[in-house]
Each structure stands twice: as structure tokens, then as C-alpha cells.
Amino acid sequence: MTSARVVITGLGAVSPLGLTVDEMWAGLTAGRCGIARIQAFDPTGLPCELGGEVPPYRIQDHVPKAMRKAVKLMCRDIELSVLAAREAVASSGLITKGIDPEKVNVDPTRFAINMGAGMISCDLEELGPATAVSVTDGQFDLHKWGQDGIRQITPLWLLKYLPNMLACHIGIIHDIQGPSNTITCAEASSHLAIGEAAQIIARGNADVALAGGAEAKINLMVMVRQNLLCRAVAGRNDAPDTACRPFDAQAAGAVFGEAAGVLTLESLHHARSRDAGILAEIVGIGQSHSVHPAYARMEPDGAGIRIAVEKAMADAGIGPEDLDLIVPHGTAVPQDDLAESRGLEAALGSAARRIPTWPTKGQLSTTGAAAGALDVVAVVRAMNERLIPPAKNFTRPVEGCNLNILTERRQGAIRHALCCSHTFGGQTAAVVLKSFEGGARQ
């Protein structure tokens, strides 16, 4: 049994830098920063009042007419994923039911979806009326909640917040009847989802897959959680542009944001048979785990990252000298960045000091389950534009980090690129991409 080769034929991204891949790429190359004071709610009182928010959009404009009723069941994570999925499908040239039901050119039963999703925090305001009738002497009263509170909430409330609903809404819009999965491994989710989708195609269970992730972290509960875990940057509220500094000596924590990134993956055979433009090939997948009793942090030696990278490189059958770009996870939590750089150095040896390394979160913020997918989108664009922008907010490395973090833009061919991610909780993942021989069809 020979595995199919898996290529990328479409990209979609909704990020703090814009509603499309083009806008994200333009922002990345222009050195724009998507981080600002949170607008969605008044963040006063949080140590970190900053966030990476997606610019305004109207969800109705991005959902086929026949399915607009469903938008009532979409929380923001779902909306973002629906937007990015639509772009990923449209840019691939595939025609699904959601693009044009008359001209469908993909077999729904051979179409898979694999999304990374976060733990979706519910909208507190939506629970306000129900909570207000469930109070006795200023305290929450579960008796009253069971009796009266529940009745104040819309019957389908739960369905808005189940993580698998991202994939389900997208699946309904685009008629995806093949394998469907939702990976909930926090900030490593979308690399894991992309890896699994590629393997589903490779083993012949689908010809085409949408894969990526989405998460909307601009929610008070999420922000409180990250502040309590001391992962969010404190004391930089006056300087949002320079607050998030991955691998930099002045780094003091992450900024959290919202985004969705989706790839259209296809077997090479399927892509060729419809003469699709091929943007890159997925050639290596590696996954492992950090084992560390402080679950909110990486183990100091980055072993989980090291093993994931070693596996991905072996899967790709390449050596460190073949890599022209690394996009690390780099959240700007200092000890995590240091651990990641140690893991990369352990996996790649002295080459790690030379390979151009481009962390993106100084501009995109940490977007949870979307983060890894945004990075893959950025890498694919970099490959096709033959351009790596410089890392934002990086001047000199945190002590102990020997990576070659780019301070200037670099032009030239990128044959292979490595993306990696890790998360609180411990999961690690790495993906190796290869520029497609002959380059992309213009």
C-alpha cells in the first residue's frame, strides 16, 4: 500500500491583520502589528489589556443564502472558521455546494475536515439575564437557576459552544461528508489537525480535506485564565505595538487574540487531475509531548519539541541543511521561548543557529487553536513569494537562545520549511512543508 502525496491547493486566513490571506500577508510584510487595546469589552483591570482582534465583518456576507438561519447558532469561533474555510475553498478552485451547488466538482464522501478548536468560553452577557434571576442575598443561587434561570436561555445554547461545531458548520455549508474530526489540544491543535488530515488523505480515506483551526480568545474568561497563569504580558498596555516580543531579551509574556486559518489539502493525484494550482507539499509530520509537572509551561530542555521536530524531519526524509525557514511557536513567554529554542537546537544541531527563523506572534498574537494554521499559511505564502519578512519586536535574543531570528527581510527560494508548536498541557507538533517542484502555477 503506497501512501498518497499530499499538497496544499488553497489557503484561508482571518487574523488580526485582516479578513483574508492577502491582508495577512500584506500586514506581515509591512511590519504591521495586529495587537491593540481590547475593543470587544472594556479590559480595564486586567494586567494585560491587549489583544489581537479581527477587524469587523458581517457574517451574513460569508454564508450562502440558504444557510443564513444557521448564523444564529454560531459563536465567534465558528464565524471566524466559516470565513477562513470559504476562502480556502474558493482559492483552491474547488466548487462545493456552498460555492455553487450547480457546479460541484468534489465528491462529498471523499471530502474530509479536521479542525483545531479551543475550549469555547460562553458569552457572559448572554447569561446575564439568567444569572440575574438566580441571586439570593447577592450570591448565586443554584436552586433559582434550575427553576427560573435556565428558562431565560435560548434552547440551542449548548450547540453554540461545542468545539466540534466549527467543523460541523463548515461541513454543512460545503457538504463535507467524509471523515470529520476536531482536535482540542489548545495551541498545538491546528498543527495536529493538519497532520491528521494529511494522513487521512495519504492513507486513502479522502481525496480532499479542509484542515486548520480557529479560536476566539477575546473573552473575559480566557483573558482572566491567561493572566492568572502569568502567560499574558503585564505592564505593556501603553505600547501595544511592541508588547509581544517572541525570543527577545525584553519579552515579558504573550498577547492573546482571535483568528482562523484553514488549508485545502489534496492528494497530488486529485489536484493534478483537475489541474489545480499547487502551493506547497506537506512532507513531514511529527508529534510528541512535554512531560513537566508545571502544566502551564514547557519543560525547560524542550524535549517535547525536540522529539516532534526529529520525527517530522525523519518523516520528510531531510536533514537540517535542507531547511530554509523555521516558524517556531514563540509566544513570547520567556521560559517557553527558551525551552523551544533549546528543543530546536537539540533537534537540528548547529544548523539551528543558521536557518532563518521567523516567529509571527509579535504581529498576529497567540491565537490558540488557530495559531499553527496561520503559521502554515504564512509559510506557504513566503515560499511562493520567495520572501521572509523580519521578526517584529526582536532586537537581541533572550539569554540562551541561539536561533537565527531574522531582523531583516530575506529574499530567495525556500525549499523546505519547518513549523512547530507546543501548548500548555504539553502537546507538541511539527510540520515540514516543501515548495512544490516547478513552483506554483500562476
Partner: protein, 442 residues
């Protein structure tokens, strides 16, 4: 990615469970054989005014009694606590040393992975609702966020917040076992742990791991979980008779009974199991996955996705419906599921549908949500080994429209070589696994 020619056979070499019928596999099986119900009045929180006042809880369980180093897991959620016990049992049975930095079992930790279908932990309810109460402006019908923020930052704690994340169960499992191979956690609603077992098999088949610790962990028995399911009218409201409320396929079924727990299988390549000389309990022969792509709220009327997944699993196993001796159903006791699942079985099995036993152990365990499928897979392994079909209890008034052999009210002795296990989830997630008695020859 590697283009492997091999296809490893995947066998089960260990099992562990913590469920409403007991804290190990023996207790669960004894409960099933005696038709015992795990349902009773809700004790985890005061649900006395909720529309549903009962559930199927794991009672009297303390994870600290199942492991040697509970201090590494203090503060973990119920789901994580359950998975620690289940994993410890399963590892012991399979000869995998847990809780040691220097294992002597000869297993390469980078070749041992984890795949869980796992859900979120309970909110810190008092702080959460306290935070809404503090911020809610009843006159303006909106939140005054800084007031909420103050309460949240004051009352919430980092560990409690972190442990709610759905990937934490996998994190604790890795801490317990030292697993450094591929680790993923998925959450496809009620189908999650069947998906986890299925995808874990694929990882072994592809040669990316020798051993996968696979299964599920979940507890949605918390105020917002029960609120959500009650609002969907998915839960039985037979408050005067919890023990008979879960009655899959009966004419008077009125919803599922929510349970909780964890179930873990040690999956292993046949080569690894042979090399280690461990007992083999069954073989996982096939896996199929699909999505309905129909509606967020309902299953496809004809069970289109369920049928597709069943066909996919049979094809993957290289078997036909004639080879299946028993179907372990999703069988939730909701009007919709049991009707459509029956229809799907008839569509796939045609004439044979009436001649094979199909049953639901949710009539005894309740519905373990994310952990349900894995617990049911363990019951299916035992059915093969013990030659007993588990009963569907509480089936005294059959639904006249549902006419399969549901094995009502008493277990049935018969030789079983092959079992089809189905799981379906909200949003149209369908996962099917086929288990076989292990034989040296395929």
C-alpha cells in the same frame, strides 16, 4: 511523508475503566452481566430544581488511591482524575510501567502515544456566576466588565482555570506514563472516544507508534453541562425512576441519562505485542468515520452519515455484514438516535439486520459523552472474550417501529467473533470501529 508499504495489525493488550458501574473493568462487566443501573439522584451539585434531577455518577472514587504520585495531579478535573485510574489499570495489564522516570519495561517512550476523546472540566461555578452577578447591569441589560474582572481576578485560581482545558486529560496521562509519541485529544461530542480509538489505530498502522494509550475521559455533570442538555431536551426527565430512565429502543424512552467516566485501551502493533510477550485481548480490525453534513440540530433522517461510516469500517476491515456477530450500538435512549440508528443498521445489514443482536449498555452506564465510545469498546472486547452479549435493560415496552433484536433485559450467551461498535455525536459525527477475536492468521 513516508510512503509505507506495511500495514501493522493493531491489537488490544490492556484495558481500564472508571465508570458509574465501578472503578475497574471487572466491576463494569459484573454490573453489565447483572443488568445493574448506575443512575441515581444527582449528588455532585444540587440539581433538585433542574428539569432533570438524576444522572449516572462515578461514586466513591479517589484517584489518589490508584496511583503512587497523586501530588503531580492535584487539582485535576473529574475527567482527568478518572483517566488517571483507568490508565493505571490498563498499563498494569499491558505491562507498561507508569509513574517512573526510568522504566524497565523496554518500551521506547517516543514510540508510545496517547489519543483521548476528552472534554472540558467543570467551571469554577461560584466564581464564574459571581463574576456575572458583579458585572451585570440589569437596567442596561449589559455587562460592566471591569466589575466582573475584579471579581474574576480575585476569586479564580490558575490551577482551577487551567484544569478546565480539554487537553489536560492527555497532559496528565502523559505525566503518568511518560508517553512521548504522538499525542492528540479530540472532542467530537458523543463520538469522541470511538474516534480516538480509531485514529490511534491509524497511527500504529502507519508505523508512527508501537503503542497508543487510547480512549476517553469526560464529565459534563456540572450545572452548565446539565443546563445545556436540559435546554436541548436531550435528557430523560423520569425523575421518579432514575434506574429505569435509560431505556434505549423502548417506546417510552424520553432522553438519555448523563453519565461520566474514563475508559482506556492499550492499543499495540501485533509485532510489539509479540515482542513483549503480552496477552492479546482482541484485534481492532477496522475504522470508519464520516459526517452527516446535514443539520447542527438533527441527525440525517436516513442516517446517511451513519451508513457511510459503517460501510467505511467494513471496507477498512475487509469484512462484510455477514462477518458481524454483534452490533454494540450508540443507543442513547433519545427518540431520534434510536430510530435513526435502527434505520441505518437495516440499511447496511439488509436481511441480516433482524438476525444479529444489537444492544446498548447505556441502559446501565448512562451516557459517558466523550468517554462513552471507549467504555463500550471495552464492553465489546469482553463480549468477544466471554461469549456474552450485553443486554439492553429497561426494554419492557418496545417501540413498535423498532424491530431489531435488542437483547432485552438479560445478557445472552453466544459465541462472538466480530463486533461492530458505533458512536454518533451532535452535529453529525459518526465513528465506527470493528473488533475481532484475535487469531494469528488474518
Amino acid at each position: 511523508m513516508k510512503t509505507s508499504e506495511t500495514r501493522e495489525r493493531v491489537v488490544v493488550t490492556g484495558m481500564g475503566v472508571v465508570c458509574p458501574l465501578g472503578h475497574d473493568v471487572g466491576a463494569m462487566w459484573e454490573g453489565i452481566l447483572s443488568g445493574r443501573s448506575g443512575a441515581n439522584r444527582t449528588t455532585i451539585f444540587d440539581a433538585s430544581t433542574f428539569p432533570t434531577t438524576f444522572d449516572a455518577e462515578v461514586k466513591g472514587y479517589d484517584f489518589r488511591k490508584h496511583i503512587r504520585h497523586p501530588e503531580l495531579h492535584e487539582g485535576c478535573s473529574r475527567g482527568s482524575a478518572f483517566v488517571l485510574g483507568a490508565t493505571a489499570q490498563a498499563c498494569k495489564q499491558a505491562g507498561i510501567e507508569a509513574e517512573t522516570a526510568q522504566p524497565t519495561d523496554g518500551i521506547d517512550r517516543t514510540r508510545m502515544g496517547i489519543y483521548l476523546g476528552a472534554g472540558e472540566g467543570s467551571l469554577d461555578n461560584e466564581s464564574f456566576f459571581g463574576c456575572i452577578i458583579a458585572g451585570w447591569d440589569a437596567e442596561q441589560q449589559r455587562m460592566v466588565w471591569p466589575r466582573s474582572t475584579r471579581v474574576a481576578m480575585d476569586r479564580m485560581t490558575a490551577v482551577r482555570e487551567l484544569e478546565q482545558e480539554p487537553n489536560m486529560a492527555a497532559g496528565h496521562t502523559a505525566m503518568l506514563t511518560g508517553a512521548r509519541g504522538p499525542v492528540r485529544s479530540c472532542l467530537t461530542a458523543c463520538a469522541a472516544s470511538t474516534q480516538a480509538v480509531g485514529e490511534a489505530c491509524m497511527i500504529i498502522r502507519r508505523g508512527d507508534a508501537d503503542i497508543m494509550i487510547a480512549g476517553g475521559a469526560h464529565s459534563m455533570i456540572h450545572p452548565l453541562g446539565i443546563t445545556g442538555f436540559n435546554l436541548l431536551t436531550a435528557l430523560s426527565r423520569r425523575n421518579d425512576s432514575p434506574e429505569t430512565a435509560s431505556r434505549p429502543f423502548s417506546g417510552s424512552r424520553d432522553g438519555f441519562v448523563i453519565g461520566e467516566g474514563a475508559a482506556i485501551l492499550i492499543l499495540e502493533s501485533l509485532a510489539s505485542a509479540r515482542k513483549r510477550g503480552v496477552s492479546i485481548f482482541a484485534e481492532i480490525a477496522g475504522y470508519g468515520c464520516s459526517s452527516d453534513a446535514f443539520r447542527i440540530t438533527d441527525m440525517h433522517e436516513e442516517g446517511r452519515g451513519a451508513v457511510l461510516a459503517m460501510h467505511a469500517a467494513l471496507a477498512d476491515a475487509g469484512l462484510t455484514t455477514d462477518d458481524i456477530d454483534y452490533v454494540n450500538t450508540h443507543g442513547t435512549s433519545t427518540a431520534e438516535n434510536d430510530s435513526i440508528e435502527t434505520l441505518a443498521i437495516k440499511t447496511v445489514f439488509k436481511d441480516r439486520a433482524h438476525r444479529i443482536p444489537v444492544s446498548s449498555i447505556k441502559s446501565m452506564l448512562g451516557h459517558l459523552i466523550g468517554a462513552a465510545g471507549a467504555a463500550e469498546i471495552i464492553a465489546s472486547v469482553l463480549a468477544i472474550r466471554e461469549g456474552v452479549v450485553p443486554p439492553t435493560m429497561n426494554l419492557h415496552d418496545p417501540d413498535p417501529k423498532l424491530d431489531l433484536d435488542y437483547v432485552p433485559n438479560a445478557p445472552r450467551k453466544m459465541p462472538i467473533n466480530t463486533v461492530m461498535k458505533e458512536s454518533f455525536g451532535f452535529g453529525g459525527q459518526n465513528n465506527v470501529v470493528i473488533l475481532k477475536r484475535f487469531r494469528e492468521e488474518t
